[in-house]
Symmetry: C2
Subunit: 326 residues, 2 copies
């Protein structure tokens, strides 16, 4: 089965993604040498381009990919890049996409400013194109992303988080941007509000499935070489769905022991115990079921659209997201 | 003479500034407890409100202060607050306006996210009010502010900066926001493009005068208790106008000695020597003259507007900026 291979999913819009690369490269040009240097470094890293892919496939499923679709794709990718640069400062990360992170090379000062610059550049693309509707969508998204992260941090401190709060956090910090990508893509190709809303819902549900899968991988991460390493969230005291479920199913004494383990934080020597606990209590399969149900909702959201190569690609992307091993 | 007292300058729009406080307080409300807590902490600090003051005085000089003027004032103050929060991370500052800085209390992670949140909130105010013209102005400003800071950092590393580059840096990092304040204020009250441009120029020239004065104070800062402490820029290897001029007037051997001193950076034991050098070579009075000439240009920019209490307040603000001792 090759249907869930990312490069196959990209096939129907291969040319358009190349066109996007040009737009994105141009948007990153700056007369300030240092900015240009960092921008070139970012371009060299070639991310997966999931967000531009969503914009362009959504546009094509609703109508024709056009100038506005490319601007939208550039805008969301700039915004995403800005948040990655800030995230790396926030997490003191020293690697990103296999390369040394920007803060590792240029320090925090430059990284914070570069993130602000990328965010502003993204918004300017929309301003220059008179895409007021895009601005409406993305300013709300930037607010939700930062608010979601801040909510997660405050809950992390108290080790106190229920399913409802978890869903709110991942909806804000992750699903909101994917939802915006699909909404922007659709809005670039159609003015039908029902269609645009369908794509906003598609993106939201895809984003929820995506983040839950991401959180599962922290417990079951595959290969040590290429996969996401396990236990990272536990070390950061992030309580995610598999653990929330496992804790809700366990007795009081076991619960307080596990919470004691988690409080150890960075020096945690009980990671394997926590992971085993979650597996035993059925936390993984529960979260997998929830992820799959969001995936189904995503597919339902766009069920009324005709069966085209771009719609099939979107549906394959949903499968890719819930099946991925890293 | 009381004309250059900031509270006198605020007199003509005292009520409107109180009204602004309400707008600003409302804009900072959040359902996320941590965000709300930090927002309240920010509100408690009460900044000088120079930027909302500029918006409101510009609006009143062009016409009537209205809803849009308040939104503009809220937008620029949110944006300014966002940059302060990020600046404190960038500079590892532990104090701001006499209070512990946000990064000192809540750490860098939360500060970076809170800065992003404030920026997004500011932009949302404009989005919600359909003020597309404001968005045009401020997205460009955010880009220029970060680009200006980044240009300064890269020049600082090489200790190589001429007057032209200096002007470009301060125009981007400081004058651009003051210019936007005046432009937004004017645009909220009139649709006459000449008038709006006049206020943009007023703000630019005021901003240039303001930053040059700020850079002078690093050499001649007044009281140790209340004034800006001297030598901070020298320790950070920031080469500003008084020093650029002094270096250009000195012979080769003296120049290389002073540059050697500056390379010492944080541990600099020759700060007094550098300051004395700049004074001797006439760097201070040269920079003062340049600052005054920008101040004059600012006043000229709005010379065609009738002599009202708000215009007089703006002119007094120009004097305040170039005469301030801290």
């Amino acid at each position: 089965m090759t249907k869930n291979n990312l490069s196959d999913i990209k096939k129907p819009i291969e040319k358009e993604l190349e066109e996007f690369d040009k737009f994105f490269g141009n948007a990153l040009k700056s007369k300030v040498g240092l900015v240009d240097l960092i921008a070139k470094y970012i371009l060299k890293q070639k991310g997966k381009k999931i967000r531009p892919l969503l914009v362009l496939l959504s546009a094509r499923t609703c109508g024709q990919i056009n100038e506005r679709s490319f601007r939208g794709a550039t805008l969301v990718e700039l915004l995403h890049t800005a948040t990655l640069v800030h995230d790396d400062v926030v997490d003191s990360a020293d690697k990103r996409r296999g390369f040394p992170s920007i803060n590792a090379i240029w320090k925090n000062k430059i990284s914070v400013l570069m993130g602000d610059y990328l965010l502003a550049r993204g918004l300017m693309i929309a301003v220059e194109g008179d895409d007021f509707d895009f601005l409406k969508v993305v300013t709300d998204t930037v607010k939700r992303m930062s608010e979601g992260e801040l909510l997660q941090i405050s809950k992390t401190r108290k080790l106190n988080i229920d399913e409802e709060t978890y869903f709110r956090i991942i909806s804000d910090k992750t699903a909101s941007l994917l939802s915006s990508c699909c909404e922007i893509g659709a809005a670039s190709a159609t003015s039908e509000t029902d269609g645009i809303e369908a794509f906003r819902n598609f993106g939201h549900n895809l984003g929820m499935a995506f983040q839950i899968r991401d959180d599962i991988l922290d417990f079951v991460g595959s290969s040590k070489l290429f996969g996401k390493s396990t236990g990272r969230d536990i070390k950061e005291k992030k309580i995610t769905l598999p653990l929330i479920y496992a804790l809700s199913k366990s007795d009081k004494s076991r619960k307080s022991l596990i919470l004691k383990y988690i409080k150890d934080g960075e020096k945690n020597r009980h990671i394997t115990d926590v992971i085993e606990f979650v597996k035993e209590q059925g936390g993984i399969s529960y979260a997998e079921n929830v992820s799959v149900s969001f995936a189904k909702k995503a597919i339902e959201s766009i069920s009324l659209f005709p069966d085209t190569d771009s719609k099939r690609a979107l549906m394959n992307l949903v499968d890719f997201v819930i099946e991925r091993k890293n």
